[in-house]
Amino acid sequence: MRYGGYGSGYTYALLGVTSGGNVTVDHSTFSHSQWGGLHVSSATADVAHSLFTQNRFGASFYGAAATIRANSLISSNSEYGVFMTYTSSYASGPGVINNSAVVNNGLQGVLLWVDPGIATTSAPRGTGNNIYNNAGTRHSSATVVILRPGRLQVPSSPFLAVRTISRSGAHRTPCGTTRTQRVGLTTAATDRHDGSATRPDMSDTLA
């Protein structure tokens, strides 16, 4: 039985950081939540050297200047590893995953719902990550991406799991299936989806 993190959906977690909140987490473990390990909404968070495992979701960010970094591991959660949602009105710091691993999750490793109108400086980003062996059905793994408002690059990797939110808030289809979304995507070239991925060059994801 998984305990903790009451709520309806990804917005709940063992640790929920709400509007104006600020958390610093280092060398910590979040496990066995019915929902998420960590949820950050309109708040800030810095997470390093931490483990998210055996939750439904590892971590979720909603309009949050939140960072997961420094060899953190998001592994063996039953659904998403990391779930980020950002609307066009969001203007603070981005959601970031750097130098971490997202592996063996039940759905997408990293799922992004991002409004195409978001400012570049606020768009989610990541670099130096290992993301593989995630088992989403349609997009079986995910690569951390840089979003480039105003451009569309169909992802070269079929394992990129990204969804966007229209200005009305309605969810649209994943990027890569339509050319109407004004979101550009880049992928980590070394994500082989076989467990053998090595850390991509820093330049790979910070183009």
């Binding site: 039985m1 305990y3 610093t24």
Partner: protein, 84 residues
């Protein structure tokens, strides 16, 4: 740390005026799916490589004879730093 594990038996709020510091090695357990540690203020949870901080289900590490119950809004931080 001395009284760890702490068991969350209700939703615990760290209000905007408060700072909650969790020491290395502390285990925070949630007693059922209806619990969360909600932070609107500041939370500092900095463990070490040898003394990680753990947020988990009570089922994972329960040791009932050593548990300290963290009831909602009743943990005083002292020195005027606010309430949890």
């Amino acid at each position: 740390m001395a009284n760890s594990p702490y068991v969350v038996v209700g939703t615990v709020n760290v209000w905007s005026i408060a700072t909650l510091t969790i020491e290395p090695g502390v285990v925070v357990e949630f007693d059922n799916p209806f619990r969360t540690l909600s932070v609107g203020g500041t939370l500092i949870a900095v463990g070490t490589a040898n003394a990680r901080i753990v947020f988990t289900s009570i089922q994972a590490t329960a040791s009932p004879e050593t548990q300290v119950v963290m009831e909602p809004q009743r943990v005083h931080l002292g020195n005027g730093s606010g309430f949890v």
